[in-house]
Symmetry: C2
Subunit: 347 residues, 2 copies
DNA sequence: TTGAAAGCGCTAACAA
DNA sequence: TTGTTAGCGCTTTCAA
């Protein structure tokens, strides 16, 4: 067994409570005894037992991270490590630790969250996603347990602390950009519409089209996983349309790469025959690498701010409702102008 | 405050210890009281407090994960999420949780590990890397604290539980493959040589060359980060050599993509002018996608087995010293034969 | 400025 | 089959 506070107290000829106060650097303890006790802690190699402390203080300084249930896809995308890095740095700064949810199915994850929360393992929770009708969010909210959502919540937006980009605006700008280039047959490819960010991006896309007086076509809106298979399926769908789009807005770089690749295999080149704008900007930051024109959503900042928000909430009991992380449109080489003026030159 | 075991006991007219035994499904308790107590737990919405249980049992069922200190690169590579997925599944299966180390620098990480271990937060630790002269490993070993290393340890290989591929053999096979294709000027690009896996792969590369009677050239061995910048730097180095290699063995897909890309920008095409074999196989499993001939090291299995090994160690007090995960050579389109017979045809 | 003592919620001898 | 009791190692009133 390891050294306890009692043994330190004995050696130092003080009460355990005094040692405890030395640990937390209580100002009521004289410098002299502090120095003496610290020396003995050092000599004995004493380290406080966090579990005992947690039990007494009813706080662990551990934050639970909840991944989405479609985590197989999540694990194959650089979004996850990027956001973890931000979370990790934000937590480390305030001496918090991060506990991962391990479940695969929705039920497993739910059970895991209940265990973390009711078991007193975590002081707060961060949801690494936001989707509609989420049981876990409802559970946390019903219990008034501190949590932060990465992604704007679908309901109760006024009362939930979240961190997000302005996805509507970002998608609108991306779509506008394509419209400016002369495109009118513009498609949208996103993943599961239960995710709020997909809804938002779709909404921004639609808003841009409407404002430009372009009629929406249901055929042009496609939903697939953020995976290579998803990309392939999406590419097939696109080519099966009578009047296929000349440009695409896509909700993720990985998905976009898959689509671009599949389209190329089917004989459709980017940007010559089809223009592409995507989201996330995690795959090699260099502009020259894959050449996807894309919206950089600053994933690291998203994670960092989420950690900051939950910690603030835990420490002050309150936190800003919504934090919006700025995005940046990064123009590269996956889009081509098809304005009539440009076209006539070609004729 | 939440419901405690005492309140359940009162309502059920039993002693707290009986409730405790019901929770752990102790066979000594009669079915009748079990049912009664469970009903009351249900009705009160009781959930055991894990912290209290952990303190009493001196075990938390939490496993600490330690990332390498060069984690900025780690976070930008799909190796990390892939191994996490394996770890996660292995942990979930046995009802263990995963705690992440959050530090950036070596010192921060070391402090974090000490805190986890001495603080009694974790029952065991998994090192997600293996490098020579690792303080953390030494610390854990000195304390005889249960841990598993992902990657063969540099020292004390007999007594440390680890999970790894046969990287020497894999690199030897990859190099052999290039030799079979007629290459003799073969380079090796890896990252930091303090990582054991890089050492092993380098060793396998050298062994294959020696066996084929090819003289090693120090110029042909390059070390760079697993990042795009690293790839760029490596590409420059290669082109600066008087007699540049006609083929490369590389220790990571991400690095390889960066190198391939940079080389192409500098006018050297793959596989026409330079052949490439790499490692990891995390970036889109489809053979057609990026076309890199590569060694699939089954990262998921590596993580899954690591979780399994540490849990076995925690439960039985013992575990196999080394588990070797099989690798698979995946032939694609990044290598070209330059055998003399083929060459003469061209002349 | 320090100490004594109770208690955080649970488990695990030992008794019955 | 169940209850009693003494901790696990720390914090925190209350008292001195």
């Amino acid at each position: 067994m390891a050294i306890t506070i009692k043994e330190v107290a004995q050696r130092a000829n003080v009460a355990p409570s005094t040692v405890s106060r030395v640990i937390s650097n209580d100002p009521r303890i004289s410098e002299k005894t502090k120095v003496r006790v610290r020396k003995i802690m050092e000599r004995l190699g004493y380290h406080p037992n966090f579990i005992a402390r947690s039990l007494a203080k009813r706080s662990t300084r551990i934050i639970g991270l909840v991944l989405p249930s479609s985590s197989n896809v999540f694990y194959q995308n650089l979004f996850f490590p990027a956001i973890l890095q931000g979370l990790s740095e934000g937590a480390q700064k305030e001496q918090y630790s991060l506990l991962l949810s391990t479940g695969k199915t929705e039920d497993e994850i739910y059970e895991g969250v209940v265990k973390m929360v009711q078991g007193g393992i975590v002081d707060g929770v961060i949801l690494l996603y936001s989707r509609m009708n989420d049981h876990i969010l409802t559970y946390l909210r019903d219990r008034a347990f501190p949590f932060v959502s990465i992604g704007k919540p679908y309901d109760f937006i006024e009362e939930i602390t979240y961190v997000d980009n302005d996805n509507v605006l970002a998608a609108e700008q991306a779509t506008d950009y394509l419209i400016q280039l002369g495109h009118e047959r513009i498609g949208f490819i996103g993943d599961d519409l239960t995710f709020v960010k997909t809804l938002d991006r779709l909404f921004g896309y639609e808003r841009a089209l409407k404002r430009a007086g372009i009629v929406l076509s249901g055929e042009y809106i496609i939903h697939e996983d953020f995976s290579h298979e998803g990309g392939q399926a999406a590419a097939k769908r696109i080519l099966s349309i009578d009047e296929p789009p000349t440009a695409l807005v896509m909700s993720d770089d990985f998905l976009a790469l898959g689509v671009v690749h599949s389209l190329r295999e089917m004989g459709l080149r980017t940007p010559e025959e089809i223009s592409i704008v995507s989201f996330n900007q995690v795959l090699f930051p260099e502009p020259s690498f894959h050449g996807l024109t894309s919206v950089d959503i600053n994933i690291f900042d998203l994670g960092y701010q989420a950690a900051k928000s939950i910690i603030q909430k835990l420490q002050t009991g309150d936190a800003p409702t919504g934090s919006i992380i700025p995005h940046h449109f990064v123009e590269r080489h996956s889009c081509k102008s098809i304005k009539r003026t440009a076209m006539t030159l070609t004729y």
